[in-house]
């Protein structure tokens, strides 16, 4: 019987130092996949390596041996004694492996639940394995199911709707104030790393222009160059405040840079045009009272973090819905892959043939009621002989293939061709649809 297994480690089980040492660069993946493919117990494999996890998905007939071989492979490949990282390794077999892969693809196992980039990373890992043909027909199905599950989770839950990082919360709030950010300007006060990171978020949200001011003007200039923005001297900050829609302040100044009276004046010059002030510095750069002025929306780092925390709670609530979607899909998938066994397939095939034979025989006998007992017996024997002869060759071939790498492919083909189980065909149909979309 074939089994799906997962062996690997992630951000929950291993510190970054270990993850780093066990991860695969994209350039190494090819060799690694091929080497895993040569392990005696592994029939198919895919390697997923991101900064938060290193996992090998594989198909095998001997899960225990395969897991041991995979661990040894990781140790040999990266030249680290197994004992150094064995405690961080987890392995799943069968249902639990499938569930794990579905959860990873749906971003339920991510550091920040609901962040969508993991799906792209899995697709990428899958494509590389596909090209090298280290993933075969079982993992192919499994991964397509996983993509389908991830899509359902994204569409049917609100898991990735809310912003959970400080920068994305800030962008979200800006959109709540201004709507579309396309014609908006942002003023960065302070040209440090924090403002740079936040600025990138605003750029990808579409802000039109970036103006930067900094105590040391050169730093402002170089950042302005990078963002194709404009640098203004620190003394001209009021001019910057007058023209900006969004202001992001992140300096290490010990006093307030933007004060109440100053903003009252600026607002008059702006004709009360709304302004969004973000203060992500500690100690604060903007006098808190400024937030009381009409048409000014002031958020400091704590406010943003509180919202992010709330949103993470929301995501966790949605994650429960996602788990039940996964459970549902898991049952469907497991039903399919457990049907890929030789003996039950042969039994089902025989049963089907025999049913057809009996039905047709009965029909014929009822049309000819005056046949003798002997004639009936020989008809019975003849029909039986026909199906036995028809089945003989395919069944011998199948039994021969049972130890073969592609046995499941044949079993699946037989099940599909003779319609031996309905779940099987359903899955194929959905899969075709997904394939068409990818």
């Amino acid at each position: 019987m074939i089994e799906i297994i997962v062996t690997g480690l992630n951000h929950k089980t291993a510190p970054i130092e270990i993850r780093e040492r066990l991860s695969f660069q994209e350039s190494e993946l090819e060799e690694a996949l091929l080497r895993v493919n040569l392990l005696p117990s592994i029939k198919e494999n895919i390697i997923l390596s991101t900064c938060n996890r290193v996992e090998i998905y594989a198909v095998t007939r001997n899960p225990e041996t395969a897991i041991r071989e995979l661990k040894e492979f990781l140790s040999q490949y990266h030249n680290i004694p197994l004992i150094d990282f064995e405690r961080s390794i987890y392995s799943f077999i069968s249902d639990e492996a499938v569930r794990h892969i579905f959860r990873v693809a749906s971003s339920l196992d991510s550091m920040v639940v609901g962040e969508p980039q993991i799906l792209g990373q899995i697709k990428n890992a899958y494509n590389i394995a596909m090209e090298l043909k280290t993933s075969g027909f079982i993992l192919h199905r499994l991964l397509h199911r996983a993509f389908h599950v991830a899509k359902r989770v994204r569409n049917e839950t609100k898991i990735s709707l809310s912003a959970v990082s400080v920068s994305s919360v800030a962008v979200d709030l800006a959109q709540k104030i201004f709507g579309n950010l396309e014609k908006k300007n942002i003023l960065l006060v302070g040209a440090g790393e924090m403002s740079e990171l936040a600025a990138r978020h605003f750029i990808s949200a579409g802000v039109e222009k970036i103006v930067i001011t900094n105590r040391t003007f050169e730093r402002a200039l170089s950042l302005a160059k990078e963002f194709k923005g404009e640098a203004i001297p620190f003394e001209d900050i009021n001019k910057g405040l007058k023209n900006a829609d969004i202001v992001l302040s992140a300096t290490d100044s010990p006093q307030y840079i933007i004060q109440y009276e100053q903003m009252i004046k600026v607002m008059k010059e702006r004709k009360q045009k709304p302004i969004f002030l973000i203060d992500i510095s500690d100690p604060r750069n903007i006098e808190p009272r400024v937030g009381n002025i009409e048409n000014i929306y002031l958020y400091n780092i704590d406010d943003l973090q509180n919202i992010a925390k709330e949103n993470i709670k929301d995501r966790e609530k949605e994650a429960q819905k996602a788990e039940s979607i996964i459970q549902e899909e898991l049952i469907k998938f497991v039903k399919w892959y457990q049907s890929l066994q030789l003996t039950p397939t042969i039994v089902a095939l025989r049963k089907k043939f025999d049913e057809i034979r009996k039905k047709e025989l009965e029909k014929m006998l009822s049309m000819h009621p005056n046949l003798s007992e002997k004639e009936r017996k020989s008809l019975e024997a003849m029909t039986l002989a026909i199906i036995n002869k028809i089945l003989h060759d395919p069944l011998t071939q199948l039994k021969k293939r049972d130890e073969d790498i592609v046995a499941e492919l044949y079993i699946d083909a037989i099940r599909t061709l003779f319609q031996l189980s309905s779940t099987n065909t359903n899955i194929s149909k959905e899969e075709e649809e997904i394939n068409a979309r990818i």
Binding site: L173, K176, I177, F178, G179, Q272, E294, Y297, D303
Partner: protein, 273 residues
């Protein structure tokens, strides 16, 4: 016959209101679409009811309180449908449809028979006066709703609790734009309504203006909106102040329309409602 269609329209507005309220709770796309479909259907049938009443009565059906309320509701739904095309604010229906429904229920409770028209109402100018005034009022209903939404949304943003309400309402700037644009449409119509009213008054009573309570109150309403428009254009009033002002303006409209008719005696009082 027109009453029959009027009832169907009211029922459809009730269903649409329920759908729009369900949308606010569930935030499901198809529920909002359902609301839009039902409301359009209701609007079509309501239009039919008004045409039938026009044909049956032989006059534009805006002469008593039942007719006026029904007509006002019809205009509000019309404005909603136009706004739905112009703006992608899905919760708009959740605000406007209930208002129209309440007006319909009032109209429902009032005597609905077609009675012979009082002589002063048999005027060429009267229907114009009413249509302009109500169209203006219907657009100001939209202004009012945008003001309410603005205050709700602003409160969320200022208090830094971005909760369920904030998720359901459009951005502040969109609401402010809606507030301003609807004002620029509503104001000329209200002005026209008052001018045609004055002309009608000249035909009916031989004077353009007589400081009857209705006239006085429509002037107050007009001045409120004029002030809002002026402040917006010159001082750059916007946001919160404009939102509050548009809510006050709508209160004045309601008082002019209902309060004056029901409380203060005067020429506009519906004698036999």
């Amino acid at each position: 016959m027109n009453i029959y269609f009027f009832k169907i329209a009211s029922f459809l507005y009730l269903l649409a209101t329920l759908a729009y309220l369900a949308y606010i709770i569930l935030l499901r796309e198809f529920v909002s679409k359902l609301g839009r479909i039902i409301v359009s259907l209701g609007f079509g049938i309501h239009t039919l009811a008004l045409i039938l009443r026009y044909l049956e009565g032989g006059y534009t059906p805006v002469t008593n309180l039942h007719e006026s309320l029904s007509f006002f509701a019809w205009m509000i739904i019309g404005v909603l449908m136009i706004a739905n095309i112009r703006y992608r604010i899905k919760v708009l229906g959740s605000f406007l449809t209930p208002i129209a429904l309440i007006l319909m229920l009032f109209a429902f409770a009032l005597p609905k028979e077609i009675v012979p028209l009082a002589p002063v109402l048999r005027s060429f100018w009267h229907p114009f006066h009413v249509i302009f005034a109500f169209l203006g009022n219907a657009i100001f209903t939209l202004t009012f709703c945008s003001g309410i939404m603005y205050l709700l949304q602003e409160h969320q943003l200022k208090s830094k609790r971005i909760g369920a309400i904030a998720k359901r309402l459009p951005p502040l700037q969109v609401l402010d734009d809606l507030n301003y644009q609807s004002l620029t449409f509503g104001f000329p119509l209200l002005t026209l309504g008052i001018i045609t009213g004055a002309i009608w008054a000249e035909y009916a009573w031989g004077r353009y203006w007589g400081w009857d309570p209705k006239e006085t109150w429509s002037l107050i309403t007009w001045l409120l909106y004029a002030a809002l428009l002026h402040q917006r254009l010159t001082v750059g009033w916007r946001g919160r102040k404009a939102a509050i002002m548009s809510i006050i303006g709508f209160m004045a409209i309601l008082f002019t329309f209902l309060g004056v008719n029901l409380i203060l005696p005067g020429l506009h009082t519906y004698a036999n409602w």
